[in-house]
Structure formats: C-alpha cells, structure tokens
C-alpha cells in the first residue's frame, strides 16, 4: 500500500511547488499568455454546443490565438461550458490540477454561477466557485457565442492587468477549496472513484 500513500501525498501537495519568476521577460510572457489561450477540450455541459460556432467561420476564435487542445498540460483556459454535475466536477478538478500555472477558468452560463434552471436539481453543483476558482463568469442560458467571446476578451484584459489570478487563489486558499471538495465528494474520492472500475475490468 506504500504507493497508495505516496499518491495521496502527491495529490495533497498538488500546490506545494515552486513557481518560476521570469524577471526580464515577464512582460513578454504576459503578452504571450494573453494572445495564446489554449482551451482544454472538455465539453462539460450543454454550452459545448457553442464551441463549434466559435471555432468556425462565423466567430473564429483562432483569430485571437485561441485553440482547443485535448492535452490538459498544455491548456491555459478551462471553459466550464454549462452546468456541472458532481461526477463531472471530479474530472474538472483533476484536469484543472493537471493544467500548469498560470491557468484560467471561464464559467459559461448561469448554471456554474448559481445552478441556473437546475437550481433544485439533486445532481447539479450550485456554486462552482466554492470548488475551483473562477476568473470570469458569463451569465445567460445559453450565452450567445458573442457573449463567450466577450468573456474571453475579459479574461485577456484581466491577464493584462494581472487580475486573472484564479490559479493564485487556488494555491493560496487550497485548504478552503479542498475542504469544500471533500465535503461534496467525501474524503479520498479520487481513489474511491477510480477503484469503482477495478472489479469490472
């Protein structure tokens, strides 16, 4: 069971690492971060339907250097496209922790803010900000593609003036987020969830 413990420690220490400070080129990198936001390809809810129009001829967000990418390690921007169920939220947290700092979250639609139409649903997370830090939220159901673009522009602006600090908040208040996550899912949810499948494969 030794590796089990190791893993747990690793997950606990997911934020206890050193950050690199680039002194000379920091402004350049800041500019680059703003101009090149790669979206983690994770269609978490119904908002995913507005991703194709955004990526195609009508709106074409690649103009601004935005590009979906399946690999979370390379991602910068996590688009929470719509409502989040606890089952999805687990995956969101895992993927979010896998992304590398600096990383940003754009919550898309009313549901991540307060549950939206699913405010009384037993399986929809009501306030996403309790579990992971959100940088920009767009209200509406479903927010139009223009609204999403606007949200992304807002993120860019926030990156520029340094207020897109969700990842910093996550590091600083990790206990708070961790506590909320554990309250929702129960302690040791990663192992529990993983082991559900052991008997089946």
């Amino acid at each position: 069971m030794s590796e089990m413990k190791e893993m747990r420690n690793e997950n606990d220490g997911v934020i206890s690492y050193e950050l690199q400070e680039f002194k000379l080129f920091e402004p350049l990198f800041k500019w680059a971060r703003k101009k090149s936001l790669w979206i983690v390809a994770f269609c978490t809810g119904c908002g995913g339907i507005e991703m194709p129009p955004l990526a195609t001829a009508r709106y074409d967000f690649e103009r601004f250097g935005i590009m979906p990418n399946p690999a979370p390690r390379m991602g910068d921007l996590f688009l929470i496209t719509g409502y989040v169920t606890p089952k999805t939220l687990k995956r969101i947290i895992i993927t979010y922790e896998m992304m590398q700092d600096p990383k940003y979250i754009l919550a898309h639609g009313s549901c991540p803010i307060n549950g939206g139409v699913y405010w009384d649903s037993y399986n929809v997370v009501k306030q996403l900000d309790k579990y992971i830090p959100i940088d920009v939220a767009i209200a509406g159901c479903m927010p139009r593609a223009e609204a999403v673009m606007d949200g992304i522009m807002e993120i860019m602006r926030k990156i520029e003036d340094g207020t897109a600090d969700g990842w910093k908040r996550y590091r600083e208040n990790y206990e708070y987020y961790r506590k909320n996550q554990d309250e929702l899912f129960g302690e040791g949810w990663r192992e529990k969830d993983a082991r559900r499948w052991l008997a089946w494969i």
Binding site: M1, M4, V40, A41, F42, C43, T44, G45, C46, G48, I49, E50, P52, P53, A55, T56, A57, R58, P68, P70, P72, Y83, T85, K87, T88, R91, T95, V117, Y118, D120, S121, Y122, N123, V124, C141, M142, R144, A145, E191, K192, R195, R196, W197, L198, A199, W200, I201
Partner: protein
C-alpha cells in the same frame, strides 16, 4: 448480449472501496476514454485493450445527469418546455415537440394546421442543422477538419433563421402544447429559408466530394462496427442506424405525425449495417430533408391560428390537463426520440419519461460494437452511431 459477469464477492469488495487488487491480467491494459477527450462528449468509456484492439468496453455515462425527470415533476406543464429541451442540445426542438405532442394528446387538443406546419418546418430545420453538426463531428473525428468547418458554418444559417423565428440560437422554447409560441415572422423569413435550402442543396456536392466520396473515409468506415438486422432490432436501434441494417423504419412514415402524412419523401435503406452504411444513409437523409423542406415551402403555411383556442391557456402556470398518459415520439437525426407523459390531473406532470435514441445506441450497442474494434475505430463508431450522451443521462 453484454455479459459482464463479475463475481459477486469482487463486486462487493469493489463497493467497499478498500481492497487492493493488483492488475493480475498483464495481457491487457486499461484506457480511460473520455470525458476529457475530443472524441467523446461528456461521456466516458473504459476500454480494456489488447494492443490496439479493444477487448471489452464499459460505458460510464452520467456526467450530464441533471435529473430532468425529477425536475419536470416539480414544474408546471408549460414551464417544463424551458427545461426539457435541454435534453438534446443539438436538436433541442425534438424534446419540445414530443413533449407538446404528448400533452396535446392527453388534453385532446387538435393542433391547428398552421401550428402543425410550423412545427414540421422547425423539426426539419432542426434535423438539417443537426446533420450539419453531425458532419462536423464526424469530419473532426476522422481527421477531416475542412468538411467539419464548412458544415459548422452552414449550420449558422439555420441558427440565424431560428433566431429570427424563435428568439433563441440554440434553445428555442418555441413549440408549446397547443401550438407554437409565435407566428412566423413573415414572408421574408420564408424566402430566407428557401434560399438557405437552395444554398445547402448546392453545397451537398461539396460535401460529397470532400467527405462522402472520399477514399480514406471509405477505408475508415467500411466493415467497422457491423451489426445485422436482428441485432439491431433486439437492441432497439432506431433511426439511420437501423435503416443502415436494412429495416425501413422511420417514425415519420410508420407513425406519422404533424404534417408528414402529406409529404412525399423516401426512406433510404442500406443493408450492410457497418459504419459506412450508416454514414451513407445519413447522407441520403440530408437530401430527403432538404427535399421535405422544399415541399413544405412550396405548400406554404396554411392560414389559421398558430395556437389552439382554449380557456385554460389563460392561466398557464395553473394549467391542468385531465388524468391520463400518452406516448409521443418523433424521428430525430439520432433515431426514435420518445416521451411518456403521465398526468394525474394536477398542474404538474406526474411523470415524464424520455426515451433518447442514444439510450440504446450509447450503452449496450456501443459496448457490443466496440468489442474487437481498433482504438482508431472508437470515434468512428461513436460518431456513426451518433451517440448523444445527454440522451442517456438526462
């Protein structure tokens, strides 16, 4: 039949979550496919792989479960329209329509001709935009991004028309029990629709050249995910997937609703049952849908009201249908989409049970078809079955 017999003790143990099971079987490995993956939407398959072949696939849905059926029991009949259309995102008009049709049947409303015509147009437009969406998905999954990009751009034309008609891009909240919410904006809209249909008819040739006649597309899909007629019927496969196995079952023909009895169209049928057949059936259906839209436009909207005249509609939140139940279904691009509504005479439905086509396509059928497939076939099979995870999860 999927027969995953796990010893009971093992399952018990797994449930207890505190066992240590080392991978005994080193011949295979586990691949978690989705949800954070480009091929699946929010949907997960756990693959037990041998090299690049799949030995067993276990579907893990439920990432999109919002408890619609529970929520529908807590909301009045008309409010539910704004809720249940979120079941099927690419074709949000389908749940609206079936729900309205079921309620119509319970109440015993005869929906006005004009409303029926509009509903049919809306459904066909939804189908067409869903086809475009499907081309995009399929193109992306086999690596032909160009076709996908074009298709998604053409879909925007329908989005614009929808917006003008209903006020919403994706969720329209347009079809309500008793008719539709608003009338057609005007003749200009009809002209635009006709232009769009004409435009798309021309563009189908482009899609033929780049996608449907593509040698590599044939290579990728031929002989992949084959199911025969018997299998398809036993697994309640519907829609284009069923028609690709040689069964000419189309709800629009066999259980006609709305304006469809008056329309002429063919039900394309192929009998190979593989992914290629499914792709080609869809290709022919696109043509038929454009043809249907054309016919509808030729007929023109019948005159008359777009909503039934009923005193009960004055106070919508307190609208109470009589006791009873009804099952309504329509042909969506993914298959037979049905709903079973039970009314106990109060202002909220007692039960509304949806039957998405992916409930059968996305679980048992998928698990069966993936057995022995290559990993590269997974997106192809997923997309040719046109699996829509929210159908399963609801």
């Amino acid at each position: 039949m999927t027969n995953i017999e796990v010893p009971k003790e093992l399952r018990e143990e797994a449930k207890q979550h505190d066992m240590y099971l080392h991978p005994i079987d080193k011949d295979t490995y586990e691949l978690f496919f989705g949800p954070q993956h480009m091929a699946t939407e929010n949907f997960s398959i756990i693959l037990k792989m041998d090299g690049n072949r799949i030995e067993r696939a276990i579907v893990n849905p439920g990432f999109l479960h919002r408890g619609f059926e529970k929520l529908a029991e807590q909301r009045p009949y008309f409010t539910n329209i704004a809720l249940i259309l979120r079941i099927c995102v690419p074709e949000s008009d389908v749940p609206e329509n079936i729900y309205s049709m079921a309620v119509d049947e319970i109440v015993g409303w005869e929906v006005p001709e004009r409303a029926q015509w509009i509903r049919t147009v809306v459904l066909e437009m939804a189908r067409m935009s869903a086809w475009m969406f499907w081309i995009m998905g399929f193109g992306n999954e086999i690596g032909l991004y160009t076709a996908g990009q074009w298709a998604a751009a053409y879909r925007e034309r329908f989005m614009r028309l929808f917006e003008e008609l209903t006020g919403g891009r994706v969720y329209h909240i347009y079809t309500v029990p008793g008719g539709v919410r608003r009338d057609i904006p005007g003749d200009k809209w009809l002209r635009q629709l006709r232009d769009t249909v004409e435009y798309l008819k021309g563009k189908m040739k482009d899609f033929d050249e780049i996608l449907f006649d593509n040698y590599i597309m044939f290579e990728r899909t031929e002989g992949v995910g084959v199911m025969d007629r018997k299998f398809a019927l036993k697994h309640a496969v519907t829609g284009p997937n069923l028609r690709a196995t040689g069964v000419p079952y189309d709800v629009r023909k066999d259980d006609p609703y709305l304006y469809y009895p008056e329309l002429e169209f063919e039900v394309p049928v192929l009998k190979e049952g593989d992914s290629l057949a499914r792709v080609l059936v869809r290709r022919y259906e696109m043509e038929q849908d454009l043809y249907i839209l054309e016919q509808l436009l030729d007929m023109g909207p019948p005159s008359g009201p777009y909503m039934v005249k009923d005193a009960r509609l004055k106070a919508l939140p307190r609208f109470k249908p009589p006791k009873g139940d009804a099952y309504a279904h329509v042909e969506s691009t993914k298959g037979d989409f049905g709903v079973y509504v039970v009314s106990d005479g109060t202002h909220k439905p007692y039960r509304a049970h949806f039957r998405g086509p992916s409930q059968s396509h996305g679980v048992t059928v998928l698990e069966e078809l993936l057995k022995g497939a290559r990993l590269a076939d997974v997106p192809v099979i997923l997309k040719t079955l046109d699996n829509c995870p929210p159908d399963i999860d609801r």
